[in-house]
Structure formats: C-alpha cells, structure tokens
Subunit: 354 residues, 2 copies
DNA sequence: ATGTTCTGTCAAAGCGCTTTGGACGATACG
DNA sequence: CGTATCGTCCAAAGCGCTTTGACAGAACAT
C-alpha cells in the first residue's frame, strides 16, 4: 500500500493525503480524519527511502563502533550505551544504523556514510590519542556527537561531546584511599590510548602528587578490560615484593578479576586489600543488594546513550547551533570493598599464608 | 557530488556512468576506466536512498533486539553476535539497522520495518515460549533468520534458523558430571521462557533420567544471567541441607558468580564442587591461559552472528529458496572446574568450616 | 455587483538513482 | 552492396514521496 493507491482509494490527490498525514494546516479537519482512518485501516506507512529522498532527511543516525584488529574485542559497554540511545531514537522516530568497523576501514566507513547520504548524524565512540577522526568528521560536514572527548582538544570548541569527569572521579577515589591510609595504590586501567584511560590516570597522578606520594609505574597497567586481565594484573602485583594495599580499576569486570586474585591469596576484600572501581552501571553487572559490593564511581552508560542521542537530535534539528558539551560527575558510592589500610605487618602474614 | 554532476563532468549520460560503475557490459572498457577514475577523484558514491528507491532493495538488514520491560536488561551476548554479523554485512555491502525495542512495541516495530520498506530482511533474536513473532513475520512476508528456534515448531519448516544444540550439549555435560560420580547437580539457567533455557533444561533432565537420578526442582533456577544471580543462587543451594556437588550454568558470567559463592565458603572449585558452563566465547570473557578455567560447552556467538548474517543474505538473494537450518554442536572442553564427586563426608567438613 | 482573501484541493516537478527501449555507427555476413 | 548484428551510448520513464505554484469556490469586504 503506497501513497498513490491510498489516495486513489480516497478519491483524493496524493498532495492532500500527504499533507493530511503530516499534519499540515491546509487540509480540512474532516478530510484529515478520513485520511487518517484509511491509513490506519490499510496499515499505510510511508516508504522510508522515498520519504528521505524527497525530504533530504534520512531520520537515521549511525553509530560507528571501532573494533580493534589487534584485540577483536567489542567493548561490552556498547550494548548498554546503544540500548539507551535506542530508547531516545525510538521516541523521536529515528532509526539507528550500526557500523562495526575495524581500524583500517574506519576512515572509509565514516566517509561512506557521509557521501552516500545514509544518515543525518553520527555518534562517535571511544575517542583516543592521536585520533584522526576529529579532522575527518569536520571535513565531512555531518553533525556528530562524541561519547567522551578527544584528548588535547577538549576545551576547544568545534564539536559536541558528552563525557564523565574521569579525571575528577579518579582523583577523588585515589584521595579517598590515601585518606584511609593507603600508600601503595595500583591502577588497573583500560587501553592506554583511550581518552578515558588517559584522564583517569591523570586524576590518579594528581591525587598522588597532592599527597606527596611517588608515582610507581609498576603499579599501573592498561589493557583491554577483561576479568582475566584484572585477575592477572592484580595477582602479579600482589605477588611482588612491595604489593599495593589498594586497587583502582576502570571497570566492574576488571574489579571482579582483582577480587578473585585477592581471594585466591587468602586475603579479604575491604580489609586486607581495598578496591574502588569505575562502574558503568551495566545491566548485567547490577547488584541486587542495597549496599554495593564495590566502592565505586557510578556513571550510567545507558544514560549517556540517551543523552548523546538527544544532543545529536537537537544538533540535527538546528545544524547552526553552537557545539554542546556535557560533563557529568560520577556518583561516588562507598561499598564494602574499601577499608583502612592494614597495619604494615599484614603483608608478612599474607605472604606466609600464601 | 551526484550522478548527474559526475556525468556532466565526463560529458557522458547518467545511464553510461551508472552502468560503468555497476559493472554492466554495455560500456567500453576505456570509458569504464575513465568513469571509475573520475568517481574516485570526486569521491562519488551513489546516494543510498535514491539507489534503493530505484532498485527496490535497501541493502539494509534489521536486528530487533528485545528489551524486557521487567528487567531492562540488554543481553551482553548481543554485542558479540552483532560484531560477527557486522563483519559479514560489511563484506557484502549491507548496512545494519538496530532496533532496541521493549515488549509492548515489539509487534509494531516489526510491522513498521516491513511496511515502511526500510530493510531487506531481519534477524530475530531470543525466541521464546508462546512467541507471537513467528506468525507475525510470516504474515509480513519479509525474509528473516532466527538466532535460535521457536520452541515447539523447530522441526517444522517455514523459517530459517541457526542454533546451538543446547539440548545435546547440556545432556552431555550432565552425563559427564554423573560419570564423575555427582548425584546432586544444579542447573543455573537463563530466563525460563527463553528457548535456549527450555532446551538446556530438557537435556539436563534427559541425562538425569537416563542415569535414574531424580529431578529436584530445588536445584534448578532460571533468571537473567548476571554474576550476582549466579552467586546468590549457588550460595543458597550450597547453604541448604543437601547441597549440590556440581553446577551447570548457562553463561560464563553466571559461572563466575557460582565460583565466588563456592570460594566464599572455603570450598575449592573443581575439587569440592564442580562447575560446567555454557560459554558463548564472548571477547571480554576470553581467557588467556591455554588450559581453560572452566569446563565448558563452547559455541562462539560471534560466529553465529557471521553465519546468521550470511544465511539471511543468501535468503534475500533468492527469496524462493527453501528455509535454511543449521544446528551447531558446541565443543565440550574439559578445564579445571570439574573433578570427581567428593566423598560423602566432605560436606560436613565444609559446613563446619563455614 | 465587483474585487479580495481564504480554504481546500490538485497537477506537476523534483529528490538521485536504475533501467527500458531505442539510436547510431561500425562491423560482419550473405 | 544491402542487410543483419554488435558495441556504445543516450533520452526518458519510473521508484514513492514532498512541495511548489495554481486554481476553483466560498466568504468577506467594498
């Protein structure tokens, strides 16, 4: 059922039917009702392609998801981010196009989406150091919103972004541990080229500096955030001569690995070793207990998805508007994984036990 | 840059340029080279919408991801499945449209995609008991491939699907545990209405039946597969009077929760309590060690994505072809989480220790 | 009665592509 | 030499929609 058939059925012109359905005022209320009833009866919905060819708007937004060829990993936070964005799109009548693309095709993917007029806008994921995408996207002249920020150019205008205050969050978490008496604090971070990892390390370092504590590279790791990575990194550090008494981790799943390494060694989480994690509030890691297991910096990535989507929709509606920026503070929730630094001799006991 | 401009630049008709770029034989090799060079130089790519309006093919495939309103959870396996499907689409020149949709809008989402001619085909996720989608999709007359099967109608033809042999896998895993001497075997399953969960329980029951062991409902749980769920379910069972000596879990993340519950109680995984898990081989749960931590049924969901996508592409290419079906056997890999059932008195020791 | 402004409708153009049905030389064949 | 065939190319129609510009007819003012 297309517009022509529908209008023929009604004995009206395509013009009138189109106008009636799109809410234009030039059509009488009586005919509008008649048209709407007929449209509903025949389950008529305008052909997306024809409509967008005629209007020049595609009502589609692309998410280009980078998939590193090195690691072949799809970051699990995307699932939740996309769920959030999807909610917003649905309400606004947008479709979501997903491009999972590996490094070498990346630039081409963005160019293709723009040149083929496939989408009205894009969401950019996982900005990283030396990221060529900012320059590319500016050249392409397509509205876009970045989830995160491009390192180095954050305060410069010219693009819209939404980000958690990673620096402040990790500075705060580190200070919290320092206040509890911890002096050897490890950071189990994400891939070092990613912007959020850079900022988190920055916050961590600032807190150490402020407390006059030395930065020890042996206590910092950066990699793809899996449970095994968390476990192995923590195990290695805990088995080293001067082990940390506290860990900061960049994701819940890494924290689980750290916890396992701690417990494997007969140590108690929150008593012998403290852990603070960043928590993206992923739906499948959500705890049911009222008191959180982990002391954590909470920042719902699903909510980020919703907000980024809305920003982009607003940007598309008025392409001339100034870039939008939103810096969200993570909630710091104290759970059961942190406690005062143990007395200096606990390590000996632990080592003997091991 | 569009076709008309490009053809004007070249002093050729749109017809010729279009044919040259689409590899039709009615154009001389010399002009084809000339056209291709010009297209490259101007970074010309045909407008997706115009092309699909003219051809009637959208070169887009939809994935409708159900999001239960009860749980608001996005299953983490989707990320990997979609990464796999995305690879295939990219190679074949397809775009991927994602609809994250909650129960009440579900039917409308499918109808809309079909009626608006937005996509050439759909991938159907998470088939469940009493699923209204099969009837709906048949009526819509859109090619589709189901990841999994609709319970009850699996052997009937009429639709294409790709599935792991969940029944056989869990039957095998259960038998393996029985052979090791386990008599009290728990099943920590996914949401009970989901087809894979139904089949897994079926396999589990068959193995118990075959061994003459009773089915104990107290040893079976079904819910959203989170780490906490796995932990809590296992903790409860282990603390009950007649605890299981082995667990079957439906996902790696549930297995991690089970492991935590086991270790919390001072029990050793693989010695005091055995665990076998289904493992979707998600990229962020992949272990680096050569010997797997968990004895597991492996079945790469990313590979499922690749294969489902290819099936659908083939189906779209020839809509008259017979429905395709593919039943994949999971690899059974023995890791360190299983061992002989402990002597009957171990429980007393464990309980005292607790 | 005449001109003016609305109201409600329509025919037709256009969005950027593919594809049908020729046209026009050049070549091959009888 | 006339005719059939082939290789290249083109003009124009059409995909299903929106939107421009025009046009009757009713309503209003003069």
């Amino acid at each position: 059922m297309n517009l022509r058939e529908l209008s023929k059925t009604l004995g009206l012109s395509q013009t009138t039917v189109s106008r009636a359905l799109n809410g234009y005022p030039e059509v009488s209320e009586a005919t509008r009702k008649r048209v709407e009833a007929a449209a509903l009866r025949h389950d008529y919905r305008p052909n997306t392609r024809a409509k967008s060819l005629a209007t020049g708007r595609t009502m589609t937004i692309a998410h280009v998801i980078p998939m590193s060829t090195k690691h072949e990993m799809v970051n699990p936070v995307f699932a939740d981010f996309i769920a959030g964005a999807g909610e917003t799109y649905q309400k606004a009548g947008y479709d979501m196009l997903l491009s999972v693309v590996s490094d070498p095709e990346e630039a081409n993917a963005y160019r293709g989406l723009a040149a083929r007029n496939t989408v009205d806008g894009m969401i950019v994921h996982a900005p990283r150091a030396e990221d060529p995408r900012l320059a590319l996207l500016r050249k392409l002249d397509v509205p876009f919103v970045v989830h995160g920020r491009f390192p180095g150019v954050d305060e410069g205008d010219g693009y819209s972004w939404l980000d958690t205050n990673n620096r402040r969050g990790f500075e705060r978490a580190t200070s919290f541990l320092i206040d509890l008496g911890h002096r050897r604090i490890a950071l189990i971070n994400g891939l070092p080229e990613l912007d959020f990892a850079i900022r988190r390390e920055d916050g961590y370092r600032r807190a150490l500096d402020a407390a006059g504590l030395p930065f020890d590279p042996a206590l910092v790791r950066g990699d793809e955030m899996t449970e095994f990575y968390g476990h192995d990194a923590a195990a290695e550090m805990l088995d080293a001569p001067d082990p940390p008494t506290a860990f900061l981790t960049s994701s819940m799943i890494v924290a689980m690995g750290v916890r396992r390494a701690i417990q494997d060694r007969g140590l108690a989480l929150g008593r012998d070793v403290s852990v603070i994690t960043h928590d993206d509030d992923l739906s499948y890691f959500r705890t049911s207990t009222p008191e959180p297991t982990f002391t954590a910096l909470h920042s719902s990535v699903r909510d980020h998805g919703r907000k980024c989507a809305q920003m982009l929709i607003d940007l598309i509606a008025d392409r001339t508007r100034a870039p939008m920026r939103e810096l969200l503070e993570a909630d710091f929730l104290v759970g059961r994984s942190t406690g005062p630094a143990p007395a200096a001799d606990w390590r000996i006991t632990a080592t003997q036990r091991d």
